[in-house]
């Protein structure tokens, strides 16, 4: 499971890097989104991988850390997703604004001289 997950994270992140280096702003945006997915998975994996272990305990019982998944990374991921989502949406707005003002979707705001 570790191998599959780490390969998946690696591939998603690498695709993200490739896209971020592309000249069109929409590609950059997609790249940033892919990278943030990979990062979210990575944070999640940093709580170690568990199978069939809940992060919460039933009410009224004393928690036993040995049978519980680490809840903190899950909370961190949730926050990171929300923040990443908001900033990406903002970037999208700026991107559309840039397209409207400059008439091109190139990241430099002008077409390269060919």
């Amino acid at each position: 499971m570790e191998l599959v997950l780490s390969l998946a994270i690696g591939i998603v992140f690498a695709s993200g890097i490739w896209l971020v280096l592309r000249p069109r702003s929409f590609q950059v945006l997609c790249g940033l989104m892919l990278m943030s997915y990979a990062v979210n998975l990575f944070i999640f994996a940093m709580g170690r991988l568990w199978i069939d272990a809940p992060p919460l305990t039933p009410a009224g019982t004393l928690p036993n850390p040995a049978i519980l998944a680490d809840p903190l990374p899950q909370a961190l991921v949730l926050t990171a997703i929300v923040i990443g989502f908001a900033t990406t949406a903002l970037y999208l707005v700026v991107m559309i604004g840039s397209r409207g003002l400059t008439g091109t979707d190139h990241v430099d705001g002008q077409e390269p001289d060919l």
């Binding site: 979210n40 944070i43 923040i83």
Partner: protein, 560 residues
């Protein structure tokens, strides 16, 4: 036992701008006067609060000069600890004073175009203040994002093609940097099992083998984020473009944001990789030192190569960031003292210069053309009002004198604080201090000055010389060689902030001794991580109102 009222003041720098910013959001532009004054009142409150914090931390009201506020009454390391010490208090004061000047500057024009300027401005202050106060790594990330999200909006303020283009780069860079921050954070959590700074610092000496290696990778990734913010070479290419594009009051606040990066490096690096950190001690010191030096060279070269005032200010900020990072990496407490003094002085100088640029630009651009340009750039529904009456006399004399003062400060010539800061740094490099060993009773004799020290001195002198050259070139072209000059009309509200910032700088010169004493105590405190760790982790939480005892839970983290 209850919380002493002074401890609640630690939360004010975060809560006050948050509430005021939220309250301003639904008000329409028809209320722009009310919005301005509410915003203004909030910043005055922040100034008063920061002064109180400086007083409490330095006046002995709090043990070890540290006031701790446990958010939600969760004791560290489980909850978020906010901590005000001498260093964060003086940074809060600097933020509030700079915010005051920037906001005052916006009264005439900038605050009226665009709807949510004041809201975003308050949120920016909240993010910066929070980053200075929080002592939890994930919370630091959240405050960084608050600060950045507000700054994205503010950089776009006054919406034209140039700002959009600069914002595209600025946002993309910062989104990528935020991802690195998260990766580093995750690795640090994975290896130490905690995100509280004091707890992390306490656990670092226990790490070994793979965990230590992973921890170092995590710390490096986080450092990359902070170094991107503080524009270390080669991570700082975004800075000059963004500064030159942003509207002047926003650019003045951006100057402070680069210093937030340097502040976090200063605090975290000294804490986590202190001499007590065992195998990890001093990790990355060379990177900071030589990276800082490379940044000085890059900034100086950039300053020499450009003749746009906005970009010059950007490169001046890069030089000051580089100097700071090199000073931190040099690893000597009394040098850090001078470095913080330099940080404050250079922030004031570059911010004043950025505000001044707009006024100087009016000498060459007729005001009507500029207004038309802004109007054309969309989103302006209420026409900004021309300054009527109450102009200031002797405009040209004021502009050239203020410019000269900024130049003196940025270049570090006497009698302004730039000189005192550089003098202090040279003095510290030339008189190597016996670090920490003296406390253990081990005295070592005066050590020789390493080559890096001489190189650092040479670079600082050289960057000062280059700053003089390029500022003089700009000054001569603007004030002497531009033919017939029509003195522009300036409004009092635009002149006052610059006088205020320069006045603060002069105050720093006059009170240099007192300020140096304060900063020496601040620097001493951040060089004693053991005291800090003990204080944060032992801060008691308050007993709850319910009398039934909570079930005892063994929360000792398992060995990673």
């Amino acid at each position: 036992m209850s919380l002493h009222w002074t401890q609640h003041l630690i939360l004010v720098p975060v809560i006050l701008p948050l509430l005021v910013g939220a309250a301003l959001a639904p008000l329409t532009q028809g209320w722009h006067r009310l919005k301005f004054w509410l915003s203004y009142a909030s910043i005055l409150g922040l100034v008063a609060n920061a002064l109180a914090l400086v007083h409490f931390t330095d006046g002995g009201a709090w043990q070890d000069g540290m006031g701790i506020y446990l958010a939600g009454n969760w004791s560290a390391p489980f909850g978020i600890a906010l901590l005000a010490d001498r260093l964060s208090s003086i940074m809060l004061l600097l933020t509030a004073l700079l915010g005051l000047a920037s906001l005052h500057f916006t009264k005439q024009r900038w605050g009226r175009i665009g709807v949510h300027f004041h809201t975003l401005f308050q949120f920016l202050l909240m993010g910066i203040n929070g980053a200075f106060l929080t002592h939890d790594l994930f919370n630091l990330f959240v405050f960084f994002e608050v600060m950045l999200a507000a700054s994205y909006g503010l950089v776009l303020h006054g919406y034209n093609a140039e700002r959009i283009r600069a914002s595209m780069q600025y946002i993309a860079i910062n989104l990528a940097a935020a991802l690195l921050f998260l990766l580093g954070l995750a690795l640090i959590y994975a290896t130490t099992g905690t995100l509280n700074m004091a707890d992390v610092a306490g656990r670092v000496p226990l790490l070994a083998g793979d965990d230590l290696a992973l921890f170092k990778i995590g710390a490096t990734m986080m450092a990359l984020t902070f170094l991107t913010k503080s524009a270390m070479w080669p991570l700082g290419f975004w800075l000059p473009t963004t500064y030159a594009a942003a509207s002047p009051p926003v650019a003045a606040m951006l100057v402070l944001m680069t210093k937030v990066g340097a502040y976090v490096v200063l605090r975290l690096w000294l804490l986590i990789f202190s001499d007590d950190a065992g195998a990890a001690a001093g990790f990355g010191q060379d990177a900071l030192l030589y990276g800082g030096m490379a940044t000085i060279v890059f900034g100086a070269a950039g300053m020499l190569s450009t003749d746009t005032a906005g970009r010059m200010a950007g490169y001046a900020a890069i030089i000051s960031s580089g100097t700071l990072l090199a000073v931190i990496g040099y690893g000597q407490p009394n040098l850090v003292t001078a470095g913080i003094y330099y940080l404050i002085g250079s922030t004031l100088a570059v911010a004043a210069f950025l505000l001044l640029i707009e006024l100087i630009d009016r000498i060459r651009t007729p005001r009507s053309a500029m207004l038309a340009l802004t109007m054309e750039a969309y989103a302006v529904e209420d026409a900004p009002v021309e300054p009527v009456g109450r102009g200031v006399p002797a405009v040209m004399a004021f502009l050239s004198l203020a410019f000269a003062a900024c130049a003196l400060m940025i270049a570090g010539l006497p009698p302004l604080p730039g000189f005192i800061a550089k003098f202090g740094m040279f003095h510290a490099v030339l008189h190597p201090q016996v670090v920490a060993t003296a406390a253990n009773g081990v005295m070592t004799g005066p050590t020789t000055i390493p080559t890096a020290g001489w190189v650092l001195i040479a670079l600082i002198v050289l960057s000062g010389l280059i700053a003089v050259i390029s500022m003089m070139r700009f000054g001569v072209r603007t004030f002497w060689a531009s033919g017939v000059l029509v003195p522009p009309k300036l409004h009092r509200t635009e002149v006052m902030p610059i006088i205020f910032l320069l006045g603060l700088a002069i105050g720093m010169t006059i009170q240099a001794n007192a300020l140096f004493g304060y900063l020496a105590r601040a620097s001493d405190a951040i060089h004693r991580p053991a005291t800090y760790i003990g204080r944060v982790l032992s801060e008691p939480s308050l007993p709850g109102p319910a009398s039934s005892p909570a079930p005892t839970i063994n929360l000792t983290p398992e060995a990673p």
